[in-house]
Amino acid sequence: MVLDLIDVPAFQRLRRIRQLGLANLTFPGAEHSRWAHSLGVFHIAQRMLDRLKRRGDSADHDYSSLEPMRKQILAAALLHDVGHGPFSHVFERAAPSPNNPPDDYPKKHEGWSEKIIREKFGEVLSNHEVDPEEVVGLISKDDRSNLLAKDFISSQIDADRMDYLLRDSYCTGTGYGEFDLDWLLHSLRVGVTQIRGSDAQIPRLCFESGKAIYAVEEYIQAREFMYTQVYVHKTTRAFEALLTNIIRLASHICDDNPESAPEPCPDAFAKFLARNPLDVDDYLLFDDFRLWSVIQDWAQLNPGNDERLTLLTQMCRGLIQRGRPYRTIVLDTPDKTTHAIELRVAHRDDLSGFRFAHDTFHDLAYKNSFYRKSIDDEEQEDRVIYLIENDTAKPAETLSEVIDAISRIPVHIERLFFDNDDTGLVAEIRARGLIS
C-alpha cells in the first residue's frame, strides 16, 4: 500500500515543496522537502505501532484496539501533508481570499489534504481495503473520534512533530530540536485516561513517567527553542513577508481587472490571483518550482511606466537574488503595535502598503489540560501528553514543573518589517520613534 501511495503524482508533488518555506535563505541546509518529511512521519508512526505491538496486551494496555487501524494510521501519517501549498505555511498566509467559494472550500492546507486524499488517493486506498474517510478522519482537526489512533497523527507528541523537530534541527544545523526519540518510543504505551468533566474512560498514547519524563521535557523544550530560533527567525520571516507582499501586489493588480495578471502567468495561478476558487487539479499545479518560475519571470518584466509593475519587478528581483532582507523592528510594547496598525491604516491604498509588513507569530509550545482555564473553555485541549505514574495516566504538566512553566507562557513574537529603500516610509517610521 505504501509504495502505491508514494507513486501517486499528488504525493510526488511534495518533492517540490520545501519543508521550511524560505528558511533556506537563512539556513543553507534547509533544503529538505515535505516528501522526505512525510516518509519520516510514516517511519516514526510505524516504529510507534511496532513498539506497542511488542508490548502486547495487558490489563491496562490494550493494543488490540489499535491493530485494525494500523493501515489507516500509516496511510494518514504518509499523506497528512499532501495539501500543503508552495513554500509550506507561507502560501497559506499569502493567499488572497477567493470570491464566492463553495461551502466546502478548504480554508487551510488540512482541508486541501482531506479533499486531495478523497479525490487522488481514494482508489489506491480502497484497493488496499482502507476506507479513505477513515484516513481523512485521522487527519481532520475537527474530528474528535478515535483519539487513540489520532494521537499518532495529530496530538502534541505525534509522529509529525517528532519527525519535523529532528529533521528541521538536523537540516538547519541547529541543535535545539534534538531529543531522545529512541527513549521516548521505548517508554510508549497505551493507557486509560479521563477527560476533565467526563466519566468516560478513553485509551490514549502515554509514556511511562519514571522512564520518559526527562525525555518529554527535552522534547517540549526542543519545540519551544525551534520556534524562537528557527521557525520565527527574523531573516526567514522577513523574506516570507516579501513573498507575501509579492502575491498581495499581484492580486491587487488583478482586483482592478481579473484579466490583468502580470504576464507570463500560468492559468491556474492567474485564476488564484483573480480570487477565483480553485479545484483540486488547479491546486496540485502549485508547488515551489512553479512559484519560483513565475517570480523569475516577473523579475525580468519590462514594467514601462507602470508603478505597480515596477515595484513588483523590484520585489521579485530582491527575492530571486536574495537581496538584503527587510529591515526589522521588534514590536514588544502595545505602543509599538499601535504605531504598526496606524501605518497599515495610513498606507492601505497606496503602494507603500506593499513595502512593509506587520508580522505576528503566536503559539504555545505545549498546551496543558487547563488550556484556557475559564467557563469559556470551548476548545478544551484533549491532546495533552499523558505520563503514567503508579498505573494512572496524568497530564504531563502535573508531574513536571518545566512542562507546567512552558505551558503558561505563549511564544508571541511581533515585528514590523519594512523596505529600507523607501525613504518616505523610513522617515515616517523614524518620526514615530520606532527607529533612531
Binding site: S97, K107, I375, E379
Partner: protein
C-alpha cells in the same frame, strides 16, 4: 485570513462596546456572518457550546497579546481559587479604539445596515440565548439534518439550556422579520 482580517474582530468587539466571554464572542461573530456581514471567520464547526471558529479563538489570543484588545479576568468564586473558573471580558484598548472604529468596517451584503445596529441586538442577549440561537441556525443552514429534525437535534444538543429556547426562538424570528436573516 488575509491582511487586516484580525482587526475586524477588534471592530466587532468595538461595536459591542465590550463582550463578556469568549463563548459569547464566538456566537456573536457566527450570528453576524448569518446576518450577512462578510467576516473573514468562516471556519465554524459545532463544539460543546455551539458554533466555534478556531480562527476567532486564535485571533483573540493574538489581539490580546498585541495589546489591541484588553482581556479582564474575574474569578467566579474568589474563595474557591482559580480552578473554580473565571469570567473573561473583552474590550478594545483605549489607544486604538478610535482608529479601529473609524477605519475598519464590516460590510453587510444583505442590506445597507450598520454593524452597530446588528451588535446592539446581540450584545445584550444572554450567552445561553445566543448559544441556542446560533446552534439552531447552524443546524438549519448546514443542512446537516432534515428540517423537521432540527428541533429534535437541538433538544438533544442543547437540552440543558431549555430555559433559553423560547427567547432564542423569538430572537431568530425577530431577526427574520427584520430582514437580517433569510
Amino acid at each position: 485570513m488575509s491582511e487586516h482580517d484580525e482587526l475586524l474582530l477588534a471592530r466587532v468587539i468595538d461595536a459591542c462596546g465590550d463582550i463578556d466571554g469568549r463563548v459569547k464572542m464566538q456566537k456573536i461573530v457566527y450570528l453576524l456572518s448569518e446576518m450577512g456581514f462578510v467576516t473573514p471567520f468562516q471556519d465554524f464547526t459545532i463544539r460543546q457550546f455551539g458554533p466555534f471558529s478556531r480562527s476567532v479563538a486564535y485571533t483573540t489570543d493574538v489581539l490580546r497579546d498585541s495589546g489591541v484588545i484588553v482581556e479582564d479576568i474575574q474569578a467566579l468564586n474568589e474563595d474557591a481559587g482559580p480552578e473554580s473558573g473565571s469570567q473573561y471580558f473583552y474590550r478594545v484598548s483605549n489607544e486604538l479604539k478610535d482608529l479601529i472604529h473609524n477605519n475598519f468596517q464590516l460590510s453587510c451584503k444583505r442590506m445597507n445596515r450598520s454593524l452597530e445596529e446588528a451588535c446592539s441586538i446581540l450584545r445584550n442577549e444572554d450567552r445561553g440565548v445566543l448559544e441556542v440561537a446560533a446552534t439552531r441556525l447552524f443546524l438549519e443552514r448546514r443542512s446537516i439534518h432534515r428540517p423537521d429534525s432540527v428541533e429534535e437535534e437541538l433538544g438533544h444538543m442543547k437540552g440543558h439550556l431549555r430555559s433559553y429556547f423560547d427567547r432564542a426562538n423569538a430572537l431568530v424570528e425577530e431577526l427574520r422579520q427584520d430582514g437580517w436573516l433569510n
